[in-house]
Symmetry: C2
Subunit: 324 residues, 2 copies
């Protein structure tokens, strides 16, 4: 059971009622296709919840929740081109279904529409502040994506670099989603600070779980090819920790595997075994739990009604278990 | 002599003093490369001039002029990927010099930085209005680019469709550049209206001149391959008018040529001859002059000091003659 279900439903309802521009068709159709693939809508749900926590009503944050989801989807569409991904949430990616050019341009207009949905936020002080947060977040997400790409050509990625990459690529948007909703709901600066910390911690835990599931999870659960990260030489936390904990001989072997343009199923399995042998799955779990505890601590500091606190706690739990 | 020279210089000075983010390098280097290729800086110059016209000082509009130029350059970088262009202003395009992926992501961050440069506009009412204009304009530019792409697969593009395409792709940004500067300078709604009309008229004339120069101009002047539009089967106004004025036999021949994936130099020359034979160059010149007169009429309606009016008139003249 998704603890954010009421907010997800409210968002879907709003999305369904939204009238997209229609012309030129080839610009707006890919956008509508991608927005209609039902994701978990975690980010817009957080925006709505955060607004309700401080104002008792989520509806003033509906347009902003759309901005957050549009931005997220814009970044996925462009990332999928760069990563040459074939599938997203089990559906054909935009650049494959349409064309790379359409994916570029539809992504661009999505980013612009994300800004357009912020246009009517009141009052003026909040409006400016939200725009600043949105800009800063958007910039960081691009930086995170670039870091991720840069890591492809490197074997020496460090733990802190990896953590900064996932912070930029994933966590800041969860933080911004909460903060933007809370600002619209009238939260003060102290609350905003705690919420941002919460979003970052959730995002970090979420991404580390993603990396773990990719290697040790079930493909039905993620909708992805299992161990795709190993196949693609992704420098995840698992790789970094294994490299730094392995014996010289195992390290040499690991670096060799990660220098190959592609791996056989046997090699992929061998990497997985090596991860397990050096307990990097447990080390990742433990770091993940650390972020989870930070998230819980941030929730406890919030000055919000108990039922909302419960929703946040359940959300944190569901997020780190990928139990949506 | 560029009538906007003082504003171009002021913009270049501001750009030179601007400290770009540096990391990740592969994200920000292509952006700086492209921004450093000296364009004519027409759009940011118009923003600065428009602000000065109403406040006597261009400097409050410097950040907004950067937004306008960043947006313009973002759109060029992404367009160049889609058009597979090798050169821009005589320099290697970003996707060729770096990679398509870097061109996508650097373009994205440029669009975000364009928004970031709008963050500090005062007062709040102007800030919101400028953001709305910026959003609307950005969306239209994407629509214009999509229409342009759509025209590639069509032989039946109509005159009005073409005019709407160039309005979106080129003219609205000139209108927005003027309007944003004027709003920062304190212009009232009546002035804003005239300035927008001026920008649109200038943009239309500018683009038609571009189409004419491509076919009948010198390559040194535009820095482009002469008659590249014919070679690439671009459905310019010249093509549309020739098709609609030609004898059934010549029309059939023209449609045949425009159905070929590529043309020989002789075929290109034959198309050019056909354009000339049906006087479509004169017809384009006459439409161009019509827009020029609309621009002049809009300038005359403005409530600004005589020297500024002279600058605008000279700018209009220089723009339609591509005399920068």
């Amino acid at each position: 059971m998704n603890p954010l279900e009421p907010y997800r439903r409210a968002f879907e309802e709003y999305l369904k009622g939204y009238e997209w521009m229609q012309h030129p068709t080839r610009l707006y159709e890919p956008l509508q296709y991608f927005m209609s693939i039902r994701g978990k809508r975690i980010r817009p749900s957080l925006t709505l919840l955060a607004c309700e926590m401080y104002s008792g009503d989520y509806s003033p944050a509906l347009p902003a929740s759309m901005s957050v989801e549009l931005f997220h989807n814009f970044s996925l569409i462009h990332d999928d081109i760069m990563d040459e991904a074939q599938l997203r949430r089990g559906y054909t990616t935009v650049h494959v279904k349409y064309s790379p050019n359409q994916a570029i341009l539809s992504g661009d207009v999505m980013l612009i529409l994300a800004y357009q949905h912020l246009e009517h936020i009141q009052p003026a002080t909040i409006f400016r502040k939200i725009l600043q947060i949105f800009n800063e977040t958007a910039r960081q997400v691009c930086e995170g994506q670039q870091m991720d790409i840069d890591f492809e050509d490197r074997l020496d990625v460090q733990r802190d670099e990896y953590l900064l990459m996932i912070k930029n690529k994933t966590a800041v948007l969860l933080g911004a989603a909460l903060v933007i909703g809370a600002l619209i709901g009238g939260a003060d600066q102290r609350e905003i600070q705690h919420l941002y910390e919460l979003g970052i911690a959730l995002g970090m835990a979420f991404q580390i779980r993603d990396d773990l599931l990719d290697v040790f999870g079930q493909s039905q659960r993620t909708g992805k090819v299992t161990a795709g990260d190993i196949a693609q030489n992704k420098k995840t936390l698992l790789y970094i920790l294994a490299r730094d904990h392995a014996s010289p001989q195992d390290k040499k072997q690991l670096l060799h595997w990660y220098s190959l343009p592609s791996k056989t199923p046997d090699q992929i399995e061998a990497v997985r075994q090596l991860f397990h042998q050096y307990h990097v799955d447990s080390l990742c779990e433990s770091l993940l739990l650390d972020y989870y505890h930070r998230a819980r601590a941030a929730i406890d500091k919030l000055d919000i009604p108990a039922p909302h606190k419960a929703v946040l706690h359940n959300t944190a739990k569901a997020l780190i278990n990928r139990d949506f």
